[in-house]
């Protein structure tokens, strides 16, 4: 009978698939030297690991996993200020022509060899010369000539000219890899780092189930853990591509932490849930709209001002972001960067009548513009209609163009838009960020601005290492950006992550990149009960 044959064939195929799927793994020998708290911390993420080579830039989970093995030179506080990590001192000498890092001497790779300045120099020189794909660090190295290990604990960077960005940005964004191991691979971005891991962090990868989980086990000694011993024996990253499934897994107790930022709507729901604790991760980036200044009439400041006054920012923060954001005071130096922010900056008022007057002054009638945004960003997709409706009250027609991420990126790159809406996750270093955003050749110059005055202010700030001068120049540049609506910075979103209330003692760091899962946090976390 055909049914019988079909069924038998299908059963055979399924049986074969089960057999091929994998033979049942046999139990591995447990680590008899395990000490202290033997709990396992399971962390959920919505993105899978793409590549375990930390010199490449791929997914957020890549960073979380590799950060637990490869130390950064510096870390950051909620206000963006740099803090020691592998480097205990850093700065410039030789009239700003040489940058330096002084390293701690107690960091070791998991094979027992110390982390030295040679590893740091190798990492920096490799990034400078090979520019691994997708990495961000090379962009900060324009003025770097070469890094040299002058001793086991001191690295010096010779520079073409003084550059205030280089040391702090390279210090924060670079993760240090073992020169001995990575140096055997050339070009380094072909190295997948998929086995025989070395770690100088609190944990080391020990097993991978591709697409499902990544297990790291404790490494001792780790100098930033209590008594040199990280507090949990295993950290497991589990991948749940759908955020709803991820939340169900947390509610059920299958995972202990959700590391990615929760959608605003889910925050309110989970806040009421017993047994789950939400942590507020301070935002260090911002969400903005930029007006394409290469297109008429957006090259007219009056038109840009009219647009800026045609948005109800409070409504956006309260409705679309559900109160989980603060005003950026319409400045690219947001209140998060307290050291640089000027308290006198005020947000553009929502005033459709003023918008109409400004358009009349500019001689512009029936203004019609398109606005692009990524549908993968649900928050922006939620407030785009508010922008459209508000603008209509000022007589401006905005055609919303929500699109998939890659189309959006393609349009962004080619400058094919009137209004661009998007977010930056981390804006930690004002000079660096302004250079990227507002210099004519800046990689994220979405306003397409080419303004000699603004360029001069930014370049002056870049070329000095005098902190008071930098602050003054940065404030002048930010005021110029704000007054001329070169960028419309709308809000700083505070992110929320969730964990089981059984776990305590997380260290909260700004942005989704670090949040509560950075190495120092996970080396000190505790399980109660």
């Amino acid at each position: 009978m055909p049914i019988l044959r079909t069924t038998v064939s299908l059963l055979a195929a399924a049986t074969l698939a089960v057999t091929v799927a994998a033979c049942a793994p046999s139990k591995k020998q447990s680590n008899s030297n395990a000490s202290g708290n033997d709990a396992t911390l399971t962390i959920a993420s919505t993105t899978d690991v793409v590549n375990l080579n930390p010199l490449l830039g791929n997914s957020r989970t890549d960073d979380w996993v590799t950060d637990l093995m490869y130390p950064r030179l510096l870390t950051i506080n909620a206000d963006g200020s740099k803090q020691p990590y592998l480097a205990k001192e850093w700065g410039y000498t030789n009239g700003g022509m040489t940058g330096y890092f002084v390293l701690r001497s107690d960091f070791k790779w998991s094979d027992g060899t110390p982390v030295t300045a040679k590893d740091v120099a190798y990492t920096l020189n490799t990034i400078k010369t090979q520019n691994p794909k997708g990495g961000v660090v090379n962009g900060f190295m324009t003025n770097m000539v070469k890094a040299t290990a002058v001793s086991d604990t001191r690295v010096e960077i010779s520079m073409k000219r003084p550059d205030s960005i280089l040391v702090p940005e390279v210090g924060f964004w670079t993760v240090i890899v073992p020169a001995e191991q990575f140096g055997q691979h050339n070009p380094v971005d072909q190295f997948t780092n998929s086995s025989n891991w070395l770690s100088a962090g609190p944990y080391k990868l020990t097993s991978i189930v591709k697409g499902q989980s990544y297990t790291l086990t404790r490494v001792t000694p780790y100098p930033m853990a209590p008594g040199g011993t990280p507090t949990v024996s295993k950290v497991v990253y589990k991948i749940y591509p759908d955020v709803n499934t991820e939340i169900l897994a947390l509610e059920k107790g299958d995972v202990d932490v959700i590391a990615n930022a929760l959608p605003p709507a889910q925050v309110a729901v989970l806040q009421k849930q017993s047994g789950i604790t939400l942590e507020k991760v301070p935002g260090l980036g911002f969400t903005h709209m930029t007006y394409n200044m290469k297109r008429k009439p957006l090259d007219n400041v009056l038109v840009r001002q009219a647009l800026a006054h045609a948005v109800d920012y409070n409504a956006i923060r309260n409705v679309a972001v559900q109160g989980q954001a603060i005003s950026a005071n319409s400045s690219p130096i947001t209140p998060s960067l307290a050291k640089y922010a000027d308290p006198s900056w005020k947000e553009y008022t929502y005033d459709p009548t003023l918008s109409k007057q400004l358009l009349q002054q500019a001689g512009v009638h029936n203004l019609k513009l398109n606005m692009i945004y990524s549908m993968q960003d649900p928050v922006i997709a939620a407030w785009a209609t508010i922008v459209k409706d508000d603008a209509a009250k000022a007589g401006i027609t905005i055609n919303l163009q929500g699109m998939d991420r890659n189309t959006y990126l393609a349009k962004t790159t080619s400058g094919d838009y009137d209004i661009y809406a998007g977010s930056f996750a981390i804006m930690d270093e004002p000079v660096s960020n302004m250079a990227l955003q507002y210099l004519p050749d800046g990689a994220i110059n979405y306003s397409q601005v080419n303004d000699p005055k603004l360029t001069s202010l930014i370049e002056q700030a870049q070329g000095t290492t005098d902190q008071s001068k930098i602050k003054s120049l940065v404030q002048q540049a930010a005021t110029y950006v704000r007054d001329n609506v070169i960028d419309n910075i709308m809000y700083v979103q505070n992110l929320y992550v969730a964990h089981s209330s059984k776990w305590t003692n997380f260290t909260i760091k700004p942005s989704e990149l670090l949040s509560i899962v950075d190495p120092q946090s996970l080396a000190n976390v505790k399980k109660s009960g």
């Binding site: 009978m1 055909p2 049914i3 044959r5 079909t6 069924t7 064939s9 299908l10 059963l11 399924a14 698939a17 089960v18 091929v20 799927a21 049942a24 793994p25 046999s26 139990k27 899978d48 793409v50 590549n51 791929n58 520019n131 794909k133 997708g134 990495g135 961000v136 660090v137 090379n138 962009g139 900060f140 971005d189 997948t192 998929s194 189930v209 591709k210 697409g211 499902q212 297990t215 497991v236 589990k238 991948i239 749940y240 591509p241 759908d242 709803n244 499934t245 169900l248 897994a249 059920k252 299958d254 699109m403 998939d404 991420r405 890659n406 189309t407 990126l409 393609a410 990227l436 990689a443």
Partner: protein, 321 residues
């Protein structure tokens, strides 16, 4: 040439042609997508020069025809290429995932048949009765179901509330030996059930309709008049003929199930090829996408070819058609 050999050759030729068509369309469609893999990297420091360099490394600055010829040549040598983002051969990336997708779609297909045939028979033999109406209503409802909503409902109800089955993954990393197989089955249950629920409706309704037709045929009347029991008429005579169209549907449903695996594997965090496709789309990893489609198209084409061949073996009229 004997008719059977000619029939097999013809079907093989069709399969090869279908594969070539699928490969070509996939190749061209990916390149019609907005953006490119360098843009998808989206590094804030990537300038135009770096972007061009990256595209050159990926071989995407060559003329389209050259890329196409190179790709076909690669495929003929059994090489699916190198993943842009994972720096690994595509075959390694996919082979780690394929068994899970085969397990999921294979078991969903088997269950669909095992449940669908009896339900179709029950409905057809009780045509017009309450049981038939019930099966028909359930079938129509099943056809209108959508994997994500069914998936989340099952996860919430059976996974979270009743705690009967695990939420996400393919197996428990701490399970070993026989426990590992049990864990695989437990993790398979919800995604499989989800696929069965959304594909069962059309199978049952087709089965019912064709069986009702068969039961009205003269050979069934003859069998009844000879005193053959109704049970034998249904299961021995009518069902054999009714199964031919449903076998065709089964081949078609394999394509649906393979496509549905993208959504199912995403919702259930199941680490199959569907998930690899979902991830490769966001990164515009052309080689992984092309490799996945070749693999999945190959599976569907092979299944359909086998169905055709089975048809030919079962029914001499098909061989000569």
């Amino acid at each position: 040439m004997p008719p059977l050999a000619a029939f097999i050759l013809k079907r093989l030729g069709r399969a090869v042609l279908t594969m070539w068509f699928a490969i070509t369309v996939t190749f061209l469609l990916l390149r019609l997508l907005p953006g490119d893999p360098a843009v998808a990297v989206a590094s804030t420091n990537m300038d135009a020069g770096m972007r061009h360099q990256l595209l050159k490394e990926y071989g995407l600055t060559q003329p389209l025809f050259t890329q196409y010829v190179k790709y076909l040549d690669q495929l003929l040598h059994g090489n699916l290429g190198q993943s842009f983002t994972q720096s690994q051969p595509v075959s390694s990336v996919l082979m780690a995932r394929l068994p899970w997708t085969l397990l999921l779609t294979g078991s969903a297909l088997v269950l669909t048949v095992l449940v669908g045939v009896p339900l179709g028979v029950i409905a057809a033999t009780h045509a017009g009765a309450a049981m038939d109406r019930l099966v028909q209503t359930a079938g129509v409802v099943g056809q209108s179901l959508f994997v994500p909503s069914v998936g989340i409902f099952l996860l919430f109800f059976l996974g979270l509330r009743l705690k009967l089955l695990p939420i996400g993954g393919a197996y428990d990393e701490n399970a070993y030996g026989a426990g590992w197989y049990l864990s695989v089955l437990q993790h398979l249950a919800l995604p499989c059930l989800s696929l069965v629920l959304v594909s069962l409706g059309s199978y049952v309704l087709t089965m019912r309709a064709t069986l009702i037709d068969s039961l009205g045929e003269e050979y069934c009347l003859l069998a009844r008049s000879k005193g053959v029991s109704e049970r034998t008429v249904v299961w021995r005579h009518a069902l054999r003929n009714a199964l031919l169209p449903t076998t065709t549907l089964l081949g078609l449903q394999l394509g649906f199930l393979v496509g549905g695996a993208v959504l199912t594997e995403t919702i259930f965090a199941y680490p199959g090829v569907g998930r690899a496709i979902y991830e490769a789309v966001t990164q515009l990893d052309y080689p992984v996408l092309q490799g996945s489609f070749v693999l999945l198209a190959g599976t569907v084409v092979l299944a359909n070819m086998l169905t055709d061949l089975a048809y030919g073996l079962l029914d001499a009229r098909v061989r000569t058609a």
